[in-house]
Amino acid sequence: MEIGAHADETVGGDVADTAIADVQTFTRAYEHYRLPVYRYLRAHGATDADALDLTAVTFERAWAARHSFRPRGGGLAAWLLRIARNASIDAHRQHGRGAHATPEEVELAASAGELEPDHVALRDAVARLPEPQRDAVWLRFAAGLTAREIGMVLGKSEAAVQKQIQRALDALGEALQ
């Protein structure tokens, strides 16, 4: 079962289906997606300061590449989150670490914030999932993407993403019992 923030739906999907080449539409897209992007980056293991920096990098890159975005069929959320994911991977590589945050790094970032203890435990459990499941969970529950959008980010089919999330939920359910 999937639950998420569904960022597109909160404004009726009009942001997702709009070109973002001009200042007005890009600003609307930024206003709409900056929080999902920030939350995804925090879930990915970034501190508040690093997540804000990477959010800025994401939208700077998106602004520079805005003419390449094609709005047909939506996909703005997936496009932005793919940029954010790549920015996060780049940052990890620049710091001499692997492409993805380790579970320990994710846990450390979670514990450094002001999260409720229950939430920290849950985030710790997610951090220990296999990487494909973990990324799908973050994109779903932190960024609010649909399975179809997650598939666009990760290069997988919608059904495959649904299965990854289902497996992740099963594993989390067992881990938290």
């Binding site: 999937e2 639950i3 920030y38 879930a43 508040d48 800025a56 700077e60 849950l122 289902q166 359910g173």
Partner: protein, 327 residues
């Protein structure tokens, strides 16, 4: 903990806002956008003003967001729960026992479930101590106990004076009369000691239940649709599959619900009591279920024992009509 409640918790766990807002990002992006635009197209005053207004709006929105309660935020993070929160009724009952006050803030019922908003806070000057959890029992007007999702964990009361939770329950079996919610803290709640008690009423559940029980066969694979529940918070269909490829399992469907001119994609599947049973649904619900519906399964996806995936192509199509409610 049900999977639905686990998902609510995941949404809440990642609902982290930047403590100082996005002003740093706003400034960097404004600079990048204005610099870039000016260099390339000699930006006129109009777009500059527009961007300035947009940034001002963002700051204003940040102030407004700060005033939203945690319950609003939790509800707002979940599409189905947001509908329940918006359409729900104020209950506004509060009881104090010992060191804790419990408030039943808001409630909602439709044919896909009952949703209650609760707030638990330390009363008086009680010392901070370990609060392991809460036991809950909701009875509908027929006296039937409605299974809850997860029981909220209240460990956060060690750090904060109040914890807000949105709890989902199974659908009610009867709506005319009083619901009774009883609560107690574990471990006392384990012994049936549930000192907090709230009696309240909720409007009749919205939505329609359709017992379709139709099967379609495509290329040797049968899909049978049992009960559909069509409500403002969700559309769900109980599905039994009899696939041509028997050694695969953990089946899920891809497809859509169509109601009149509106089509909504199926965006989640849950496994049922057997490997061949599942529930497919979406949290894009409907206010008025009356009219013609089509459930289309375009693809059936399962896992083979070797980890590879099998994808059986449809479509399997089921059409049915929901009558307008009699008034």
């Amino acid at each position: 903990m049900t999977q639905r409640d686990l998902q609510h918790r995941l949404v809440a766990a990642y609902a982290v806002d930047p403590p100082q807002g996005f002003s740093v990002v706003d400034k960097r992006l404004s600079s990048a956008m204005l610099g870039n635009e000016t260099g390339r197209w000699h930006l006129g005053r109009g777009p500059r003003v527009m961007l300035g207004l947009a940034v001002a709006f963002l700051l204003l929105a940040g102030v407004t967001a700060g005033a939203i309660t945690v319950l609003d935020r939790i509800a707002g993070g979940t599409p189905g729960t947001q509908v329940a929160w918006d359409r729900g009724v104020e209950i506004g009952q509060r009881e104090v026992h010992g060191d804790f006050a419990v408030a039943l803030v808001r409630g909602y019922a439709d044919i896909n479930g009952v949703v209650l908003g609760l707030s638990v806070e330390r009363a008086g000057r009680s010392s901070k101590g370990d609060v392991p959890g809460l036991a809950l029992e909701l009875r509908d007007p027929a006296g039937t106990v409605l299974p809850a999702g997860s029981v909220p964990a209240l460990g956060a009361l060690d750090e904060a004076p109040r914890v807000d939770e949105v709890v989902t329950f199974a659908p009610t079996t009867r709506s005319d009369g009083d619901y009774t919610l009883r609560l107690g803290f574990t471990p006392t709640g384990k012994d049936g000691d549930l000192p907090w008690s709230f009696r309240f009423q909720l409007p009749a559940p919205l939505g329609a239940v359709v017992h379709l029980d139709q099967a379609q066969v495509v290329d040797g694979t049968s899909i049978q649709v049992g009960t559909l529940r069509l409500s403002p918070t969700a559309l769900t269909a109980a599905i039994h599959v009899d696939p041509a490829e028997a050694d695969a399992s953990a089946w899920g469907v891809v497809g859509s619900f169509r109601h009149g001119d509106t089509a909504v994609r199926i965006d989640w599947n849950t496994l049922g009591s057997t490997d061949l049973d599942l529930t497919a649904g979406t949290y894009s619900g409907v206010d008025d279920a009356a009219g013609k519906w089509t459930l289309t399964v375009t693809e059936l996806v399962g896992d083979r024992p070797d980890g590879s995936q099998v994808r059986l192509q449809g479509p399997w199509q089921f059409t049915f009509e929901v009558a307008a409610p009699t008034r």
